[in-house]
């Protein structure tokens, strides 16, 4: 909705749009630099960029350690997605339609990893695995990501449930379907957009996660930890190259996600919902 704007209003929007330009410049400067210097023959620094080359990409494609870590990350992300959805969907249903002692504590506990610095979640789980004598491996990272990201599945699906018309489920039950059938044939299909959104978000967040993984890592690296290890040894544009490729893939994922959301309800505030949720009161 447009506001009637007086002369002063326009002036105000004048400096506001300059401010917006500056903020966008600030947000995109590192990303542009990253991509530009992935083609820079003489390394990651130095202005202007010179000796444009695809060598770093060639080097990247021949680099087995990186691709192993990418594969590990993808496996971890899928497994974490499974865990988060398997427990996050029922958790959202429980928060929506069941009453049990400790419900408030449960809700807060589920959402906590979203707002807590990753280091605390990582360390606490490290202590759990140590006390339980579990050897650190990709499996411990999966358990860590899966647990931390239940919060995402729960928030997304809970938001979906708020818009769900319960009459459909009632009708299904009245017409003789049992709970199991109603769940799979009415509840889940109605929530599919929330679930797909949650799945994409969980996948991306897991691919990028480093604070929790940092403490739960065994012998096999995930991609962010592989990059981290390389950064400590010195930096090469190979890291720019792999990051640029992943950025492009993320962009594609975002476009798909928004197409889905837009076709569903036109307007999306999903990320804002996600950010707001942990801070919401009862």
């Amino acid at each position: 909705m447009e506001l009637p704007m007086s002369g002063t209003g326009r002036d105000k929007s004048g400096w506001l749009s300059w401010h917006a330009v500056i903020v966008f410049g600030f947000l995109y400067l590192p990303i542009v630099t990253l991509i530009v210097y992935s083609f820079n023959g003489s390394g990651v620094g130095g202005f202007p960029p010179r000796n444009l080359t695809l060598d770093w990409y060639r080097m990247l494609f021949a680099d087995d350690a990186i691709w192993t870590s990418v594969l590990n990350s993808v496996l971890v992300a899928f497994a974490a997605m499974g865990i988060s959805l398997a427990f996050g969907i029922p958790a959202a249903l429980a928060l929506d339609r069941a009453n049990f002692p400790g419900k408030t504590l449960f809700r807060r506990l589920v959402l906590l990893p979203l707002i807590l610095p990753g280091i605390i979640t990582g360390l606490s789980l490290l202590m759990l695995f140590r006390e339980a004598d579990v050897k650190l491996s990709l499996l411990t990272i999966v358990l860590g990501h899966g647990t931390a990201l239940i919060s995402v599945a729960t928030t997304e699906v809970f938001a979906g449930l708020q818009k769900l018309d319960r009459a459909q489920e009632e009708a299904s039950l009245d017409l003789g379907a049992n709970y199991w059938q109603t769940f799979w044939r009415v509840t889940i299909p109605n929530l599919r957009l929330s679930i797909i959104g949650a799945a994409l978000l969980i996948f991306t967040l897991s691919m990028d996660e480093i604070a929790v993984s940092f403490f739960l890592i065994g012998r096999d690296n995930t991609l962010p930890l592989e990059i981290w290890g390389r950064l400590r040894r010195g930096i090469t544009p190979e890291i720019n190259a792999i990051s640029s490729i992943i950025f492009i893939f993320s962009l594609i994922a975002i476009v798909i996600w928004y197409r889905l959301r837009m076709s569903a309800d036109g307007k999306t505030e999903i990320a804002a919902e996600l950010v707001e949720a942990p801070a919401q009161g009862d």
Binding site: L3, P4, S13, L16, A20, V23, F24, F26, L27, L29, P30, I31, T33, L34, V44, G45, G46, F47, P48, F87, P90, A91, L93, A94, R97, A98, F106, L109, V110, I115, L116, P117, I119, I120, L123, S124, L125, M127, L128, T147, R166, E169, T204, D208, I210, A211, P224, I227, L231, I239, N240, S243, L251, A271, A272, V275, E276, P278, A279, G281
Partner: protein, 282 residues
């Protein structure tokens, strides 16, 4: 309409998972903080307050905690200064480009946090992009050394990372303001500034609080940006925890620091939640 069995089926599995992988680990963090390490580097399960005494008596811990809070406070202020006017511009002046700009704020969130921190390192280094650019246009003769390995670099990078997090809830709260309130204020003769200050800003306070909480809490617990860009003067409290869990091998002391951080964070969440309720007009 939902049977007991149904409610049990949606409640018990997530409850159990959350108990095992969140509640128990946080409880372990609490327990560890009262234990100690023997000379042979095993964890001694005897209870004492020694770790907490050490935290109070060895100045470096409190000093680093205060430095971290100071860094986090600056990140919060800068994120709000960048995020609020941007959110305001999008919500009230961007017209039909609103959705596009909204996506533009979100997209950087999909580039790995680690990679963006690394990109800043390649920009700020002494032979980095910025320094060579400044020398290229003859603004400086020698590289500016304070750019990298300083608290400045940490604040800049964390501000970059948390500005979208500050933006999102502010934008959501601005979008929720009924536009007829703003029109009424104009019609009753308020200047644009008065309308902003007396109508719009008070209604957006819950969003500001949520954004500020996010920026402060997440940057307070960060350890990767300080490791990559902070240098000795940019060390933050989580770096100490990391080294206590690594080479220094004193998990109990690390747990005590983490527990203090956890309590600080929970206190802030509680505070911001009650302030939000107070300012919430819905």
């Amino acid at each position: 309409m939902f049977s007991r069995a149904y409610r049990a089926a949606i409640t018990v599995p997530p409850l159990l998972w959350v108990a095992i992988f969140l509640l128990v680990p946080y409880a372990l963090l609490f327990c560890y903080s009262f234990w100690s390490v023997s000379a042979t580097q095993t964890i001694v399960h005897s209870w004492s307050l020694d770790n907490y005494r050490e935290l109070i008596h060895v100045h470096v811990y409190l000093q680093t905690l205060f430095r971290s809070m100071w860094i986090a406070a600056r990140v919060t202020v800068f994120s709000l200064l960048l995020g609020y006017p941007l959110a305001y511009y999008l919500s009230f002046h961007a017209g039909n480009r609103k959705d596009l700009f909204y996506q533009l704020v979100i997209i950087p969130l999909w580039v790995s946090y680690l990679v963006r921190a690394y990109a800043w390192k390649t920009i700020l280094g002494s032979d980095g992009v910025l320094n060579t650019l400044l020398q290229y246009v003859h603004l400086t003769k020698h590289p500016l050394e304070f750019l990298l390995y300083s608290p400045f670099a940490v604040v800049l990078t964390l501000t970059h990372i948390y500005t979208p997090f500050a933006f999102l809830p502010i934008y959501a709260s601005l979008e929720h303001i009924p536009r007829n309130l703003v029109e009424a204020s104009h019609d009753l003769g308020a200047s644009p500034f008065q309308t902003f200050w007396r109508v719009i800003f008070p209604l957006s306070i819950p969003g500001v609080l949520a954004g500020a909480t996010f920026a402060f809490v997440l940057s307070l617990g960060d350890f990767l940006a300080p490791l990559l860009l902070g240098g000795p003067s940019g060390i933050m409290i989580s770096n100490i925890v990391v080294s206590l869990f690594g080479a220094a091998y004193n998990w109990p002391l690390g747990a005590a620091i983490s527990l203090c951080m956890l309590l600080l964070v929970l206190g802030l969440l509680f505070l911001s939640e009650s302030l939000e309720k107070k300012w919430s007009f819905r």
